[in-house]
Symmetry: C2
Subunit: 208 residues, 2 copies
DNA sequence: TAGGTTCTGGTACAGCCGTACTAGCAACGT
DNA sequence: ACGTTGCTAGTACGGCTGTACCAGAACCTA
């Protein structure tokens, strides 16, 4: 077996090229040829690794989601109070250039879901994941006693879920209107709303 | 001057055809030909009213936004307390089939903004409009004395803004996961959170 | 060195895209 | 009745799309 190139590494390179094109030109700019050119390959070479365009888009979206999950899950595991919850949730939001990529790609592909049932399924599943995350977050706050006693856990989790998705959407679709600082401030503000006033959480504010 | 067809009516028909295609097949299914066929016209006839595809997309998006605004603005004008605010905000969310159309179209076009600066501008402006609306809503609650005294108006408005956009995104992008009842419940739940517990708001408890 | 496998570049095919042109139809003013 | 004008259908062009085929280069094994 000659020319044993690392297939997974090659696929990763191609997916990253797709991400670059996607962020630069939107989903409309993504084609087999443009992505291949971005990756420095011929369309045929790309097709060797991804037999069809839909497969490419699918793995690109899955890769994006798992990338985000890889960042969040460890933080979730070690989060035990509001400070930990806030740190974890911030990792999900487009608050800096590095983290901005994932949601942007995710949104672009989610919008394309009507054209591809596979993408729709991934999008739905991602949404469910964020919802679970919101539930876990509220559960942690309830467990640590920081959640206001008069709040329903279920409803609060739904609110947090919607808030997160809204911040993601705003931060990606309208970066000019929504600065990272504002995203941080809004998340902190909401946690202030749902947490007991007695708990001194101000320390979690200045992130710098 | 013969055959004096009502241009505006014709344009409206075409825009509605575009909406139907957009909701059925996503932005990828929208082309001059498909929209023309949906409207029962030849591509040439369509081109007579919209000289270019971008113009068509632009007016479709503007029309969507103004359609939503036309529903919300009167409700905003007469909203003086939480009940009015809630009614107004519900008009903005995809809680029934009729109202689902606007946000769906808006989202699809917003996602396409990277390919068209004009769409991006409209999208940004729409976002600013929703933000203003959130501010007005919180302002009304503050004016009626229903807003919790310990809450910052500015921060609460940002939270409400993000929550609304999140609900819109969820309701449109993942209708299977987010039922209209849940959207209503989440909005009510959030208003419960930011309003004084003392104020007896209708059905603010268990929605069913 | 010969053989066999993995990989890649070039080329080709339909098909759809946006846009443009041109001829012709329908209706109104005169 | 007739020309003028508003409007529409047909057709065509170049370009880009996804996909497919095929010859050949690169490399390991023997």
């Amino acid at each position: 077996m000659p020319r044993l190139a690392d297939h997974d590494a090659r696929r990763a390179e191609i997916v990253e090229a797709l991400w670059r094109v996607l962020r630069r030109d939107g989903i409309a700019g993504v084609s087999v040829r443009t992505v291949a050119a971005e990756a420095g390959l011929s369309p045929t070479a790309l097709r060797y690794y991804f037999p069809t365009q839909d497969a490419l888009l699918q793995t690109a979206m899955v890769e994006t989601v798992t990338s985000g999950a890889a960042r969040v899950v460890p933080l979730l595991a070690q989060a035990a109070d509001r400070t930990g919850v806030e740190r974890m949730l911030l990792e999900l939001l487009p608050v800096d250039e590095r983290q901005r990529a994932d949601p942007e790609i995710y949104l672009a592909l989610a919008a394309h879901a009507r054209s591809s049932p596979a993408l729709a399924a991934i999008s739905e599943e991602t949404g469910a994941g964020i919802r679970r995350l919101a539930h876990r977050a509220v559960g942690i706050l309830a467990g640590s006693g920081e959640l206001r006693a008069d709040l329903d856990v279920e409803t609060t989790a739904c609110c947090l879920d919607a808030l997160l998705q809204g911040l993601i959407f705003q931060g990606c679709a309208r970066p000019c209107l929504t600065s990272p600082e504002e995203i941080r401030r809004t998340l902190t503000g909401y946690l202030d709303q749902i947490c007991c006033a007695g708990t001194p959480t101000k320390g979690s504010g200045p992130t710098r």
